[in-house]
């Protein structure tokens, strides 16, 4: 088990390194001139050259990447200029490890920007996750147990229709109509626990979390339903029934346990994807999370922030993959890690 974890972690790190190289290569090839963005409009050629050199944009690709990777492990200074360090140390920004870069546009390290926005995205992801897992799995199991009845057809039909509406549409209906036009709820605005207490925090998450959850819930209802139905046709369920176990034991201990294993996998990966910010939902509700940060970064051509976010989000997904595989072995005794 331990050997497996170590091997997976090692593979994960290599994957991240390759990932960051690919990301760097993509943005390195981009025709956007970072130095002139930083330097401003009235920038002379000489000034621009100086900025470019100070920020390290003139360095070859491999060196830029190496500096980034070293920054993640050790932290780094911006600009990394020994001469400036002696003459004007106050102009240098130190970025502690894990340093994901420095955003000139926002005048802050990417790590700090992420620290500010992560709680919003994380709260949203957790709230949505709880909603969709309980709702989706519960309704899915009900539909499967009542297979062929009106309840089943209704649930499946409803999830099909809900699934067809894009997230931003659902979000806009909730935001523009439910909250603003009809005034059924307060106009959602993100409130942290420090500002509004747990109650304020939860109520500020309600509408965006529903927006996010609805789509996943619709998918999970159908998925759960088909896994449960499949599981009821397994031989071990027939065995359990034929040896006279009560139907409740058969349903919960035998059929459902096996059916829910693949759902754990899906849920883990979906959650990891959301943790890095729900770009669309955060844009609709204008919540200051990582998704919104990503949108602004790409609008301002803020490459350091974008690269930092891409690498971090990929790390989330890679870690989630490992965690999910481990969980799988715990839940499903048939799975052996090796």
């Amino acid at each position: 088990m331990l050997a497996y974890v170590i091997r997976r972690l090692f593979a994960g790190v290599i994957m991240l390194i390759v990932m960051s190289i690919v990301t760097f290569a993509l943005f390195f090839a981009s025709p956007i001139d970072e130095a002139s963005f930083i330097c401003g409009k009235n920038c002379s050629a000489a000034q621009k050259k100086q900025t470019s050199a100070a920020m390290g944009y003139d360095d070859p690709f491999a060196e830029q990447w190496w500096k980034f990777a070293k920054g993640v492990v050790q932290g780094r200074d911006y600009p990394d200029d020994p001469q400036l360090r002696e003459t004007a140390p106050e102009t240098i920004v130190h970025c502690d490890a894990p340093c994901l870069g420095y955003s000139r546009e926002r005048g802050d390290t990417v790590t700090n920007l992420i620290k500010d926005t992560f709680p919003v995205s994380f709260s949203l992801a957790v709230a949505a996750f709880i909603l969709w897992i309980t709702g989706g799995v519960l309704l899915g199991v009900i539909a499967a147990l009542k297979k062929g009845t009106v309840i089943d057809r209704g649930l499946v039909g409803l999830s099909l229709i809900v699934y067809a509406f894009p997230t931003f549409f659902v979000g806009l209906v909730l935001y523009k109509f439910v909250a603003i036009k009809w005034g059924l709820t307060e106009i959602p605005r993100y409130t942290s626990i420090a500002e509004g207490g747990v109650g304020g925090w939860l109520s500020s998450l309600t509408l965006p979390a529903i927006t996010l959850a609805v789509f996943f819930m619709a998918a999970y209802v159908r998925m759960t339903r088909s896994y449960v139905i499949e599981s009821f046709q397994e031989d071990y369920v027939r065995t359990a029934r034929s040896k006279g176990l009560p139907e409740r034991t058969v349903t919960f201990k035998h059929a459902l346990r096996a059916a829910l294993t693949p759902i754990v996998t899906m849920a883990g990966l979906d959650f990891a994807g959301l943790m890095g910010g729900a770009i669309i939902t955060e844009s609709v509700f204008n919540y200051p999370g990582m998704g919104k940060l990503a949108v602004r970064a790409s609008q301002d051509f803020d490459l350091p922030t974008t690269v930092g976010l891409v690498v971090l989000l990929a790390a989330f997904v890679i870690i989630a993959n490992i965690v999910v595989d481990l969980l799988y072995a715990v839940i499903d005794p048939r799975v052996r890690l090796g």
Binding site: V156, L160, F168, L309, L313, A314, N321
Partner: protein
């Protein structure tokens, strides 16, 4: 799945038979069986009919615009109410001349714009699907057939692609890549019929959809190929000296089409939805060329003045996605009778 003679069905003829013992035995190919199963399912047939209708609309729209039947870009200030924003009349200005109403602030006919929007949205979704399937099938076949090192490398590429945050990459790359496309495509004569801005924005969306969408197709195809490659007919072809290309595309490919087809019918609606979402984030074809995404994006500014303008395109988008999904489900059930809804 096209294994000749794998299934035989015996059925009695409907025509009056002279002798009771005469029973006709007709062999039906798995494809025919699948079509029959699909036809027997009412919901699938209804959705299929609606799908065909939508596709016909998409094909007809540009023709109707060219022949002057539809006027998607004609402004009708006179149809707007006094504030010059909301359409005059109830429900977004619905009338005999404009059965879907007109859009706010400009008074353009919404039916014409929506029909043309279906054309562009479907074009993007279908092109994206085709590109996705090409990349996915080729890599899937190569991975499954070669095995060993090649398989491992393609497997890693799949993992890598799946760990990239798609929406973030879409946003971040859109500036430079669209710019690059625009300079490249602008001088390309055969495409000069289209607006170069539409082309480059559209190409970008298609490219992003395909680049991040192919891994599941490759996985499905690879799984199929793994089971097919050990079969006798492959061995026979190999013994006959078939080239690698022939093996891949003439022997293997025809046998993996069924799961690919199912996946394709589910990809198209997913991509229609994605186009709308991308457009909401500001990436994709821009007005005046309508797409379902940019009409919805535009309607956001008028939600209080003209809610109909928001709900109608939204409902249309959902309808298209639902019927395409139902056709996909029906195709899956028909091609793989063991699967359950």
């Amino acid at each position: 799945m096209t294994i000749p003679g794998s299934e035989l069905e015996i059925h009695e003829t409907d025509a009056p038979v002279e002798d009771d013992s005469v029973v006709s035995v007709a062999g039906r190919s798995p494809t025919q069986l699948a079509i029959a199963r699909f036809r027997a399912d009412k919901l699938s047939m209804i959705s299929f009919t609606v799908t065909v209708f939508i596709v016909l609309c998409a094909i007809a729209a540009p023709i109707l615009v060219a022949t002057g039947v539809l006027h998607p870009n004609e402004f009708h200030q006179e149809l707007l109410s006094d504030d010059g924003v909301a359409p005059a009349g109830r429900f977004g200005g619905i009338s005999w001349d404009h059965p879907f109403g007109v859009d706010p602030a400009s008074g353009r006919d919404l039916l014409a714009r929506l029909m043309l929007a279906i054309t562009s949205s479907l074009t993007i979704a279908i092109s994206g699907t085709i590109l996705t399937v090409i990349i996915g099938s080729v890599l899937g076949i190569v991975a499954g057939f070669s095995g060993g090192f090649v398989d491992a490398v393609i497997g890693r590429i799949i993992d890598l692609t799946l760990s990239f945050p798609q929406t973030l990459m879409l946003l971040a790359l859109s500036g430079p890549v669209v710019l690059m496309f625009r300079t490249q495509i602008a001088d390309f004569a055969p495409l000069s019929f289209f607006e170069s801005a539409d082309l480059s924005n559209g190409f970008y969306v298609i490219l992003i959809l395909a680049i991040f969408g192919w891994p599941p197709v490759a996985r499905v195809v690879r799984g199929q190929v793994l089971s097919i490659r050990e079969r006798e007919f492959i061995e026979a072809a190999r013994l006959l000296g078939a080239s690698r290309r022939r093996l891949y595309f003439k022997e293997v490919l025809p046998n993996v089409w069924a799961p690919v087809l199912v996946y394709v019918t589910l990809l198209v609606p997913a991509y229609i939805s994605a186009e709308a979402a991308f457009n909401f984030l500001g990436v994709g074809i821009k007005p005046p060329t309508p797409t379902l995404g940019n009409i919805l994006g535009d309607s956001v500014s008028y939600t209080s003045a003209d809610p109909m303008y928001f709900f109608l395109p939204g409902a249309l988008l959902a309808l298209i996605v639902v019927v395409f999904n139902l056709v996909g489900d029906g195709a899956r059930d028909a091609l793989d009778p063991k699967s359950h809804r």
